[in-house]
């Protein structure tokens, strides 16, 4: 029996020329939909970045419009790369990234293992812990400066008082002593971002099929064996994503340093690359040199994010 062609047995050919008679063609829709994004990104990203690339070869101060930019070739780059202080800022940044991200990873994954079971108020507890990472880092940093006050009126020192009395130490000058300033920045960053690690770990843990553990129980596997050979291999791809995300983010950290240790103090004890760049550009107004510094940083970030995207694509293929 012949059936009339209907929309059910005769699927439409999306994008076929038959449709172009009414309204915009698919090609036009595509262009109209993508153009605003591209125009905005070109105007607000590509153009300014090209401009600053050009300026990175000039001696130029934006606060002195009377002095015309003077072309000096690669001198800005040479000066920066041969300056031991610049390498120092990169080291400070690397130290911060490694300590903060490992602390967040270990604590976050640990807490996720604890939370990955049913208990009363679990939803409430999880939501509460997740709040800090949605808060403004600069505001959190500012308030922690209050908690970190160097005498006993600061909450942290007050809580540590029994311990301090025991070892006969004076209250810790958290944010004003070069020995402790970086520690306090790591603590604040860890407080903010451990929930991020926890959230991703929890997602990974809850996706592990229960029957794997049941099978292991039948074989009387130890808890360690289950953790090592079931839990870890199955959550590790997600954990890698989390670590990569946090590494990229920690690398550009600016807000907490700006407010907690007053622009990278004491001295340059906590001066990260971003902080140094800010000072170069908007404190000493070395515009040309700061553009060169920005480009050095940009190359590092692009290299890092390339590794990141490659890894992410690899994960997608495996999934």
């Amino acid at each position: 029996m012949e059936t009339e062609p209907t929309e059910f047995n005769n699927p439409p050919r999306v994008g076929s020329f038959a449709r172009t008679s009414t309204g915009l063609s698919d090609y036009q829709v595509k262009m109209v939909f993508i153009m605003p994004t591209m125009i905005l990104l070109i105007l607000m990203n590509i153009f300014p970045l090209l401009w600053s690339l050009v300026l990175s070869f000039y001696k130029y101060r934006v606060n002195r419009p009377d002095l015309p930019p003077e072309f000096i070739g690669f001198k800005n780059y040479v000066r920066l790369l041969s300056d031991p202080d610049v390498w120092g800022y990169f080291q400070t940044t690397a130290y911060f990234v490694v300590t903060a991200v490992s602390a967040q990873f270990l604590i976050g994954f640990g807490v996720a293992l604890l939370l990955n079971r049913e208990f009363r108020y679990k939803g409430l507890v999880t939501t509460l812990i997740l709040l800090p990472m949605m808060l403004s880092p600069v505001i959190v940093g500012l308030f922690w400066r209050f908690l970190f006050k160097s005498d006993t009126s600061g909450l942290i020192n007050y809580f540590l008082l029994p311990l301090l009395n025991f070892v006969q130490a004076t209250p810790i000058p958290w944010t004003t002593d070069p020995k402790f300033a970086m520690v306090s920045i790591v603590i604040v960053d860890t407080w903010m971002w451990t929930p991020f690690m926890m959230l991703i770990s929890l997602a990974g843990l809850s996706a592990i099929p229960k029957y794997l553990y049941e099978a292991a129980d039948v074989d009387r596997a130890s808890n360690w064996f289950k953790f090592r050979w079931i839990t870890l291999p199955l959550v590790s791809p997600l954990l890698m994503i989390a670590i990569l995300f946090r590494t990229m983010d920690a690398f550009k950290m600016f807000d907490i340093v700006y407010v907690l240790t007053r622009e990278g103090g004491p001295g340059t004890a906590t001066e990260t690359v971003s902080m140094n760049l800010y000072k170069l550009a908007f404190r000493s107004f070395n515009t040309g040199k700061s553009c060169a510094m920005a480009y050095i940083l940009l190359i590092v970030i692009v290299a890092l994010s390339n590794i990141y995207v490659k890894y992410l694509n690899q994960l997608k293929r495996e999934a």
């Binding site: 439409p12 607000m44 812990i129 949605m134 500012l142 009126s153 909450l155 700006y258 760049l277 920005a294």
Partner: protein, 276 residues
């Protein structure tokens, strides 16, 4: 099988309690400090019992804080609407059409967000100086829109990918144009995703500090709340009661919005890399 209340049970309960306290105490302390008299705040030891006062909030009313909070609201909402609107269009195109060099384009869009804000803001500062856009609402809206756009495209692409193509195909067969199908079929299906994306963009714009710090003047007309709270130092350092009150008012909307998107949090904080 009854749960055995062994050592590991109590250890896990204790750890959960400890973690909750570590996260609650700073937030509790913000609220408490905002309700204290200055003399109680600067006491040699923290005071857990004190006389409640609203003088810190009254001080805020007397200052420019609320007009700066209004700046945050205007800039945050306008840039969010623009970013989500433009981003959803592009996300649809990326999701449904073949685009030459699609992966590279998407990576390029994302890379603008991966750069440190200070790297981005130096050339913007130069450009805004020439265009006289520094310390204007328009300048910040434009920058926040661009900044959130990459995020909106990535997140919305994920949400639109999940809507079956068959819905639009059916609409196209029924004589809808592609544009009508997008408006009448895709958008309603994507509404949850749009709402979640908007909330994330709003929170990002609301919290943003580095751009606002560089591109506004202290006490200027377009200053948003974060630089305003941070720059409010007196001769003797911060008035912590006032800081706490301003912080509390600033944080409440974020807390409410976070609660609203708690189901999409994972997706939001990973640019849609992890869907759940």
């Amino acid at each position: 099988m009854p749960t055995r209340r062994n050592f590991s049970y109590y250890l896990s309960r204790f750890s959960i309690l400890l973690v909750v306290l570590i996260y609650l105490i700073p937030i509790y302390w913000i609220i408490v400090t905002s309700l204290k008299y200055g003399s109680d705040i600067s006491a040699p030891f923290p005071k857990f019992f004190f006389k409640i006062t609203f003088e810190n909030y009254q001080k805020l009313f007397a200052s420019k804080y609320f007009s700066q909070l209004l700046n945050s609201i205007i800039i945050g909402f306008t840039s969010t609407i623009l970013a989500v609107g433009i981003g959803t269009l592009s996300a649809y195109a990326f999701s449904r059409f073949k685009i030459a060099g699609e992966d590279d384009l998407l990576f390029f869009i994302l890379s603008t967000r991966m750069l440190p804000p200070i790297v981005v803001v130096i050339p913007i500062y130069l450009m805004y100086t020439v265009l006289k856009l520094r310390d204007t609402h328009f300048g910040l809206i434009l920058l926040y829109t661009t900044f959130n756009l990459s995020f909106a495209v990535w997140l919305m692409k994920g949400f639109i990918d999940e809507i079956p193509k068959e819905y639009e195909d059916a609409a196209l067969v029924d004589g809808y144009t592609r544009f009508q199908a997008f408006i009448k079929v895709v958008l309603p299906q994507a509404s949850t995703g749009i709402a979640a994306t908007a909330v994330f963009c709003l929170i990002t714009a609301w919290n943003e500090f580095a751009f606002a710090l560089v591109l506004t003047e202290v006490g200027g007309k377009a200053v948003t709340a974060p630089p305003s709270i941070v720059s409010a130092t007196g001769k003797t350092g911060y008035d912590w009661g006032k800081v706490a009150a301003g912080t509390f008012i600033f944080l409440v909307p974020v807390a409410i919005f976070t609660f609203l998107v708690r189901k999409h949090l994972l997706r939001g904080v990973t640019f849609g890399a992890i869907k759940k």
